[in-house]
Every structure is written in C-alpha cells, then in structure tokens.
C-alpha cells in the first residue's frame, strides 16, 4: 500500500476530479447546499407525515409499523455512510485529494447518529413486538459492533494532531475495519440465528412490505439520503475552512 509516498497530482484535472480542489468544492457546495437542505426537509416531512398520519395499522404489528419510516432509512444510511467513508478513504490513499479525506471525517458523526437512531428505534420497536428492549439478535448485534467501529474511527481522528497522518491512519483503519465488519456480520449470524424479520425492502416483491407502507417509506428514505448528503457536504466545508484557518495561522506565526 502506497500510503507513504505522496502521488504527484495530475496537472489540470477536469470533470469530476476538479472538485477535489477545495476552492471549487466550496463554491459548488455553496451553490447546491440550499437546494439540498430544502429538498431533504421536504422529503422527510412528506415521508414522515404521510407515514405517521395517513397509513393504516398493520394487522399484526398494530401502529408500531409506523416506526418503519425511521428505522429502515436510518439503518440503511448507517451502512451506506460507512461505505461512503470506505470509498472516500480509498480515493485519499490512491489520489491524495484532501477533500476526500475530510469528507470521510465529516461523514463519521453522521453515521454514528444514524446507527444510534436505528438502534434506539429498533429497541423501542422490539419492546412490544418481541417483549424485550434488547435481544442479542444478529442484526442488532451487528449494528452495535458497527457503532463501536464508528467510535474507534472518530476517536482515532481526534487523537492524532497532524492532519495528514490522521487521514492516512484512519483510512487504513477504515479499510481493515470494513473487512472485519463484514467478517463480524457472518460470525454473528453463525453465532445466533435471530428474531429479526428479513429485509423490508427487496426487489423480490413477495417479501416486500405492502404498497401502502412502501411509498411513504421510499419518500422517507429519499429524505434521509438527501439529509445525509447535505450534512456531509456542509461538514466537509467546515473541515476545509478549519484546515485553511490553521494553515493561515501557522503561516502568520512563521512571518
């Protein structure tokens, strides 16, 4: 792994890679962030209000089925946030774009909150359905382990002062952690076959949730995805500004 040698950057990047330039990235995010915030708020409001007020109760689960509009999207985003961090870490390792490393850093706290929401809503749902707040069910256990991975990742970012070293080390941790997260998923599955119902969403219609629940759920998922994007873009901008402030202060101190 070529973590140590900084790669020479291409002379004049164009297209997608040109947004690896922090200034261009900031300009772009300034332009699209307002739209993104509004879209995510609208989608979340529509999805959740539709789901909360205008869907019938499930014949088995009663009104607890309404929790699905929070539980499924947040669980989805908890995994996708880690996946996004993995891709961003790889881009950092291969192409040394600072924006990419900072985006991975910016996504981690969002991922933690998503994992937490999935765990909390799952526990509240489990209480009436399974008769217990917490069961060592494979899916729940895997999410708890994912939560620990997020905590370790954030703690490593916080502990290391030099930003490039921190970016390199967290990227390596993210790669190794991904492998072990998948391994843990299988290990946990082997360890205990669970109570959790199968996937709520799949292309296979037979297993799917009924249409009345399906459409508001899709809108809620879109809302979570948009909110995640908005938060990560905004937080990446924050990280870039913090970094620039530090660089300017350091230069001033040298003068």
């Amino acid at each position: 792994m070529s973590v140590t040698e900084p790669k020479t950057q291409p002379k004049r990047p164009s297209g997608f890679w040109s947004y690896a330039n922090p200034v261009k990235f900031l300009a772009l995010s300034e332009r699209i962030l307002p739209t993104l915030w509004w879209l995510s708020v609208i989608c979340l409001a529509v999805g959740l209000i539709w789901g909360f007020f205008f869907t019938p109760d499930d014949f088995r689960q009663g009104s607890t089925v309404k929790i699905i509009y929070l539980h499924v999207p947040s669980a989805l985003m908890a995994i996708n946030a880690w996946f996004m961090m993995l891709v961003a870490s790889l881009i950092w390792i291969v192409r040394r774009h600072h924006v990419s490393a900072l985006a991975a850093k910016a996504a981690a706290p969002v991922g933690v909150v998503m994992t937490l929401i999935a765990l909390v809503t799952g526990a509240i749902w489990g209480q009436p359905m399974w008769g217990t707040w917490w069961a060592w069910d494979p899916r729940l256990t895997s999410f708890l382990i994912l939560f620990l991975f997020y905590l370790g990742y954030i703690a490593l970012w916080e502990a290391i002062e030099d930003p490039d070293t921190a970016a390199d080390l967290t990227s390596v941790l993210c790669l190794v952690g991904s492998v072990f997260a998948v391994l843990s998923r299988y290990a946990v599955n082997f360890w205990n076959q669970g109570l959790h119902q199968g996937a709520s969403l799949s292309l296979d219609k037979e297993e799917n949730v009924a249409d009345v629940f399906y459409f508001p759920l899709l809108v809620a998922i879109a809302g979570f995805v948009l909110l995640f994007l908005a938060l990560v873009l905004y937080r990446t901008g924050t990280e870039i500004r913090l970094r620039r402030t530090r660089a300017l202060l350091a230069r001033e101190a040298r003068l």
Binding site: M1, V3, T4, I145, L148, F149, L151, G152, A155, L156, A159, I160, T165, D168, L169, V172, L173, L175, V176, G177, F180, A181, L183, S184, Y186, A187, V188, F190, W191
Partner: protein, 218 residues
Amino acid sequence: MKALLARDLALALRAGGGFGLGLAFFLIVTVLVPLSVGPQSELLARIAPGLLWLGALLACLLSLDRLLALDWEDGTLDLLATSPLPLEAALSVKALAHWITTGLPLVLAAPVLGVLLNLPAPGFFWLVISLLLGTPALSVIGSFGAALTVGVKRGGLLMSLLVLPLYVPTLIFGAEVARRGAVGMETQTPLLMLAGITLGVIAIMPFASAAALRVNLR
C-alpha cells in the same frame, strides 16, 4: 529475523519486561468471576469456556501497548524501518514474539484455570485447541492496533477501542469451539472458521500494520 526474535524475547523476559503480567491478569479475572456471579458450580461450568476466552483476550489486549511503544521511544523502530528487513517481516516477528511471551503462556494456563471454573472434562481439550489457534490472531490484530496508535501519547485506551471490535470474529468462533466442545457438540465448523481467520490475518495483517507504522514513522 532470528536475531530480532531473540532480542524481543530476551527483552520481554528481563525484569521490567512485563512478562507474566498478562498471566497474572488472566488469573485475577478468573478468580473474580465466581466472586461476582456466585459459586454455583453448574453456572460456572456453563459460562467457563466463554469466560476463559474473554479473560485470555483481555490479558492479550493489556500487554499490547508494550509491543511497539518501548521500541518507538528509544528509536529502535526507526532503525528497523531503514534496515534491509522489510517492515512487514519485522512486524510479523514482533507479533510472534508477543504471542510466545503472552499468548502461549495463556494457552498453557487456561486448563488450570478451567479447573477453578469447574469446566466439564471434554472441554479442556477444545479450550486448549481453540486458544492455540486463536491467540496468534489476537497478537497479529493487536500489532495492527499498536502500529496505528504508536504515535499517540498514552494511547492505551484508544488502542483498546480500536482493537476490541476487530477481535469480535475471533472471539465468537474461538469461544464457540470451546463452548461446543465442553457440551460435547461437533466443533468442526467454528474450528475451521477460526483457523481460516487466523491464517488470513497472519497473511494479510502485517501489510496493514506496516502501512500504518510507516505513516507514523514519517
């Protein structure tokens, strides 16, 4: 390589090298458990395999910060990085030395402590086998955690936070072998999984550890 191994072993065995601390920790954990959950022997027999695995894992974790920290402080790691021996190999040797001084004594002590916890008779064999197969993975994964946090002052707690989630698969399969062995179930599947994890980790982890260590040495 042999010289490095001999040096690491000698340093660990010398006074102040911390040899035996992990073992003592393992003993104390095992003694404290009956004091906390009560002395009923059936209960202890049921939880013994898992507890012994957990104790061994924590004892291993506790001794990890010695794996690289001392060599980092006195500059030995810088020398190793510039020596003709690849850093991957040096780290593998260091993990091996850690296993010989920490993992192996734990494996040997586990049956004795199993007696204290009233482990069922067929469980002893499987406990030793699973620990023998699993503890090398703990040392190698631990060397990755040590390499990540070697530049952090007082990084012991941080390293625990990073390493413990990585220990999950090893713990699950290892404890499963010991548990199934103790109640006389077939142990082949978890045993193969455990062996697979250990071999895979030994083959691949040194590259990740060396990458992390190079970043820290930069």
